[in-house]
Amino acid sequence: MKKYISLLAAAGLAASPLLAQDAEWETEGLSDDAITIGVMGPFSGNASSYSKALIGMMAYYDKVNEEGGVHGRKLVAVQEDTACDSAKGLAAAKKLISQDEVFMLQGNSCSGVALALRPTIEEAGLPWIVAHAVSDSISDPLAANIFHGVPTGGANGRAMAAFVLSKPDTSNVAIIEHSNDWAHSYSNPAREYLEENGVAPSLELTMERGQTDATAQVLKLRQEKPDFIIAALYEAETAIFLRDLKKYGMGDIPVMGTAGTDLENTLKRTGDFDTVKNYYVIHSYVDNLDGPLMQPWGEMIHKYYPDEELSTFSFVSIGSAEALVSALEAVGPELTRSKLMAALEEVRDFDTGILSDPISWTADDHQGVKGSAVAGFVDGEPTVLKAWGQPY
């Protein structure tokens, strides 16, 4: 019986196209006028606001297509929903790979899903540009076909911690965060960086999603009197936390937030400048969201998706799409998957004009974006910063 089962299993394997990495495989999903790209993302479910990143990215495809595509080929996005659920995400990836037979993958927002996908996609071997999820473990250890196109959690977390430590005489840092993987992807590397520099966090607090009050947390902070607070909280909770912080007379302590929030919306939510004047956020972009350098990108998204509301997520995946297009251009009309991956590894210091840091992929390192800027209020105006007191 066992023998038959293994025979059948072998038959099943042979029938699957995964191992047949031949010429046909190299050009799967490719035609004379189209490159199909599987775009996975949380288009439904409780994390669906992240999918704005993929909308922005697909708007960029549309723009490229309107300008004639790449070597006469249009970028055709095949959307699949992951609902930010690992099983559903795996189904989406397998569908794109084996049923829709796309040429490559770009996208995915949720780190958990991306981690679950990695073995499957690594085995399938087609190129995947991770366009939103931040967890370092997605692209480290290196997988030949997986390219990280956004600052990873490690890069962001280190950037946060570096900014915190760039303020003179910072020695007492507290961390407040949600207990979910999103928050940990920021706080863990930040914590590491702090500890490497001899500053162990003095206080670790959690605040869960949906809490409308941070009294308990803030009163603990009042006893500790930190120099800086790192807050890995979503928008609503950030506003509540800052409000309570000011309420209890600690409005002067600077707070470092994540890329999940932005200054403009946080100000809007608290409705009070005094509350947010000492709030800093990771800001992966070259300009403020409504600044002159970002405006054309917003207009581009609205051109193809007129009803799309813009948020800080909307722009995050565009940079890697630009890098992809430049690699596709470099390969020339005789495109194959291997050639594309080789070309991606040649991308160096690629200035996207949207991300604050350039993209560089090498044969040994597929984590393309090594840092992030920070935004904070300077003289009442949202300003992109390199370090404490240093404009970008």
Binding site: L13, A15, A91
Partner: protein, 327 residues
């Protein structure tokens, strides 16, 4: 009115049919691609989850929502045993079942203290959420929010990431557990379970130890769902706390109801149908909740005994009874 019971010939047909289904399924991998194979594997996991759930909620009639907890316990025990202690995954399946049964023991402790109906529902909901909190915070053991990747492993020289290989293992486990559960339900134990649901006081008067029946049902349910958890760990290859939340609970609750409360056949039907449905709804992201709500409400109003009751009307072959006539 007497029910039309299957004749001796029809009973033979039924046995034949029971074994014919997995036999035909052995050929399924020839007709699938990795995507559809993955979905088929997911269906088998769901069948076990639904089967375990319908035992406590349908047959025993207890409004207990701890099954997602059993599922998580199973998945995490499998992952921890495989990743931290190097136990071969195949061996972790019965062990995960044992841990699931332990979860069942805890849940039955509430029922045995006399906490019933809505109280039981609420306390078991709390049990599930406390477990999820534990997965999140017992970081050294569970990896916290990053979850636990399953270790790479091969079997018969084939990697355990291969969906076809997984399918045969899942199928074997599912057939075994479905068959064992059917044996259980069609015995004096199965009747005692139903008797407790129908009239617990009268049950005790028949020399049936009701407490032991409740305990054993919860533990078997925990065992089945715990095994399903071990399969799920391999199915996804990575165990996350978020897989064992309210959404999973509600989805499996719906599978039980749509298939037919307290019916083994219904558990299979409900699981297969409601695992497939979201895949057909992929073209409409975000509409899943609406469809789900409409389908469940529709089934509850129009067909309270679920799909299994439809089949029963088609042929007595599908009538499920709680005894087993000699062959």
């Amino acid at each position: 009115m007497s029910q039309i019971m299957p004749s001796a010939r029809q009973r033979k047909m039924r046995t034949l049919l029971f074994w014919a289904v997995p036999a035909v399924l052995l050929l399924l991998p020839l007709a699938t691609n990795p995507y559809t194979q993955f979905i088929a594997n997911g269906m088998l996991v769901s069948v076990l989850v639904t089967l375990g759930f319908t035992l406590t909620i349908g047959n025993l009639g207890q409004l207990a929502f701890a099954n997602t907890a059993f599922f998580g316990i199973g998945a995490y025990s499998s992952a921890i045993l495989a990743a931290k202690l190097g136990v071969p995954w195949l061996l972790t399946i019965p062990l995960a079942g044992a841990f699931g049964a332990l979860g069942g023991f805890l849940a039955s402790a509430a029922a045995l203290r006399g906490i019933r109906t809505y109280y039981l529902a609420i306390i078991t909901l709390a049990f599930g959420e406390l477990m999820r909190w534990a997965y999140l915070h017992a970081k050294p053991l569970t990896g916290g929010t990053d979850g636990m990747p399953m270790p790479r492993e091969t079997l018969l020289g084939i990697s355990l990431t291969d969906d076809t290989l997984k399918f045969y293992i899942f199928l074997a486990v599912t057939v075994l557990l479905v068959k064992a559960t059917l044996n259980l339900m069609r015995s004096h134990f199965g009747r005692a379970v139903m008797a407790v649901r129908e009239n617990e006081i009268a049950t005790a008067s028949l020399a049936i130890p009701t407490a032991r029946v409740i305990l054993a049902t919860f533990m078997w349910s925990g065992f089945v769902v715990g095994c399903a958890g071990a399969l799920f760990a391999r199915h996804v290859g990575h165990v996350f706390p978020e897989s064992f939340g309210m959404l999973h609970l509600i989805a499996s609750f719906a599978m039980v109801l749509v298939g037919g409360l307290g019916s083994v056949l219904g558990a299979v039907l409900g699981a297969v149908l409601l695992t497939a449905l979201p895949e057909y709804l992929r073209a409409f992201p975000g509409m899943e909740e609406l469809f789900f709500g409409l389908i469940v409400a529709g089934v509850l109003v129009a067909m309270p005994m679920g799909l299994a009751s439809l089949l029963r009307r088609v042929s007595p072959i599908f009538v499920e009874r709680f005894y087993r006539e000699a062959p």
